[in-house]
């Protein structure tokens, strides 16, 4: 993986600024206020010291944006890791049939051999959920297994 050098700067009395230089030569980052608000910042192309935009985000909006950028990465990352093991794949499956029920109730591993390695909820990844993890509507399960196992798992989670 290519590392990005994130610069963390304390802003006394306000919060912290975390940003990094992207290849296009601009700084992209986030200001985290003490009271939990976020601001997405993007530097000007002409003057990397100053900001072209600073966009205030509520915690929910920041979560969603993080999910949009992060969830495909998580799947890609897992797929990369399992690439060497033939026959094993990772898929993101919507959970619609188990709202307010636990992960254990799906009995996914016993029934399909596939296992849930993470649940993405409103943009946040919950890694390695236990059997008493409670599903909510709109959850996405990141499932690892064989192609047949994943098909079966999709059916179960979708309402089988």
């Amino acid at each position: 993986m290519i590392c990005v050098n994130v610069e963390i700067t304390p802003l006394p009395g306000i919060g912290t600024r975390q940003d990094f230089m992207i290849r296009a030569g601009r700084r992209v980052g986030v200001i985290t206020y003490r009271d939990g608000r976020f601001e997405l910042i993007l530097s000007k192309a002409s003057d990397p010291d100053s900001c072209a935009a600073s966009i205030p985000l509520s915690p929910e909006e920041a979560n969603t944006l993080a999910g949009l950028l992060g969830a495909p990465q998580l799947v890609a990352h897992l797929r990369e890791e399992h690439r060497d093991i033939t026959g094993i794949t990772t898929r993101q499956l919507p959970v619609t049939a188990f709202a307010n029920r636990t992960l254990g109730e799906t009995a996914l591993r016993t029934r399909t051999g596939a296992s849930i390695v993470a649940v993405v909820r409103s943009g946040n990844a919950h890694p390695s959920p236990g059997p008493d993890f409670l599903f909510e509507n709109g959850d996405l399960a990141v499932v690892v297994g064989t192609a047949e196992g994943l098909d079966a798992a999709a059916e179960i989670l979708h309402g089988g």
């Binding site: 009395g13 700084r27 003057d47 010291d49 935009a53």
Partner: protein, 390 residues
């Protein structure tokens, strides 16, 4: 009963008037502080509408305003932010102190007001208004800028300098003998060191005393402890403002953040009262004679703050535009200049014209600061472009 009715109507009128002034100020993109001062000038002795019967309340309210202003200044930065800020930016801080305290002190000496007034005027021209600066940086969307941490670290240093300056000023103003003054300065410096060490190591215990999950309980305990500490401090000849400030530094972590959020509206209310009362006690007729000096001081100290910001930003490897932005951001003076002038005038140890000069000066700087911060960028770009085309 009749007296209360009249007082209530007057007070209501004052607050409502201040509200309208504040709205006008933010619409114009400036701080409301100069307008509050103008409001006070208009109501006060020699002004348009003299007020009667609410002096007792307004006086106490303005004292509480000072306590809250300083308490929140202390709360603004945690003890660890203060110490790292000191380590990282002490050179810029010292330059800031020398360049910006000198004009005030020299002006007071040239006017023949003596060394005590010089010390007070040094404070008036030195300290930037962290309130105005932070608000302006936020409004202009400059918090993500690279020069902003430089600006903030200068403010942090000023905060620390205040912790030393205020007790010294109070001791000098109390008019004690040189030896006695030295002792009280020593005591207050010791107190600050103790408070900083306690805040760094045991801040959570002090926070735990005032902290409460219940907003009402928290607010009462916070306000109670602030007034208690301020009162005791003023009894010990260390002004109430200093006591509140040190309490603010000692409270840390999440307690400090919650306290800030809870106390901000109260501070705004009482601080507005403080500015009005300061304006009330300043005779508008005393301003025109000192206006020329105030304008000259404003011009000089605008330049010195810009130099400070420029130099501090250049040391961090920031480009020309960023340097000039950092300088202009620091220009605003406001609440703390008035607090210092208020302490000095209340002691009766300085020339009464100091209040008029400080008022005129802050009127100029609180208006000029946000404008300078806003328009420095287009002006700088214009000059840069012209240089490129020529």
């Amino acid at each position: 009963m009749h007296e209360t009715t009249v007082a209530m109507i007057q007070l209501g009128g004052v607050f409502f008037g201040l509200g309208l002034l504040g709205r006008v100020a933010w619409k114009m993109g400036i701080s409301p502080i100069p307008l509050y001062l103008l409001g006070g000038l208009a109501f006060g002795a020699g002004g348009l509408v003299p007020l009667h019967g609410i002096e007792e309340f307004t006086h106490l309210a303005s004292e509480i305003g000072v306590v809250l202003l300083l308490l929140l200044l202390g709360l603004e930065y945690s003890a660890s932010e203060l110490t790292t800020g000191l380590k990282r930016s002490w050179m810029a801080g010292v330059l800031d102190l020398v360049l910006n305290a000198a004009p005030g002190a020299i002006a007071a000496l040239l006017l023949g007001w003596g060394p005590v007034a010089a010390l007070a005027m040094a404070g008036v021209t030195y300290i930037s208004s962290s309130g105005i600066v932070a608000k302006v940086l936020g409004d202009l969307g400059r918090l993500g800028n690279r020069e902003t941490p430089v600006v903030l670290s200068v403010l942090v240093f000023e905060d620390l300098a205040m912790a030393v300056y205020l007790p010294v000023l109070t001791a000098v103003l109390s008019g004690v003998s040189f030896l006695g003054g030295l002792t009280s300065v020593g005591i207050s410096l010791l107190a600050i060191t103790v408070v900083l060490v306690v805040a760094l190591k045991y801040g959570r215990f002090i926070s735990a005393i005032v902290d409460s999950p219940d907003h009402e309980v928290f607010l009462l305990k916070l306000l109670g402890s602030a007034l208690l500490v301020a009162g005791v401090a003023s009894q010990l000849q260390v002004s109430a403002a200093v006591g509140a400030f040190l309490l603010g530094i000692a409270i840390s972590g999440s307690t400090a953040e919650n306290a800030t959020r809870l106390l901000e509206p109260l501070r705004d209310l009482f601080a507005a009262m403080f500015f009005v009362v300061f304006g009330l006690n300043t005779d508008p007729r005393s301003i025109p004679p000192v206006l020329g000096i105030a304008v000259a001081l404003a011009a000089i100290t605008t330049a010195t703050k810009v130099v400070t910001g420029w130099w501090a930003a250049r040391r961090q490897g920031i480009g020309k535009m960023g340097r000039i932005r950092a300088g202009a951001a620091l220009v605003a003076r406001g609440e703390f200049s008035i607090v210092i002038a208020g302490l000095a005038v209340a002691s009766g140890q300085v020339n009464g014209d100091l209040a008029a000069l400080a008022t005129a000066y802050v009127l100029l700087m609180a208006i000029l600061g946000p404008i300078a911060a806003k328009y420095v960028e287009p002006i700088g770009e214009f000059f840069q472009r012209r240089r490129q085309t020529v």
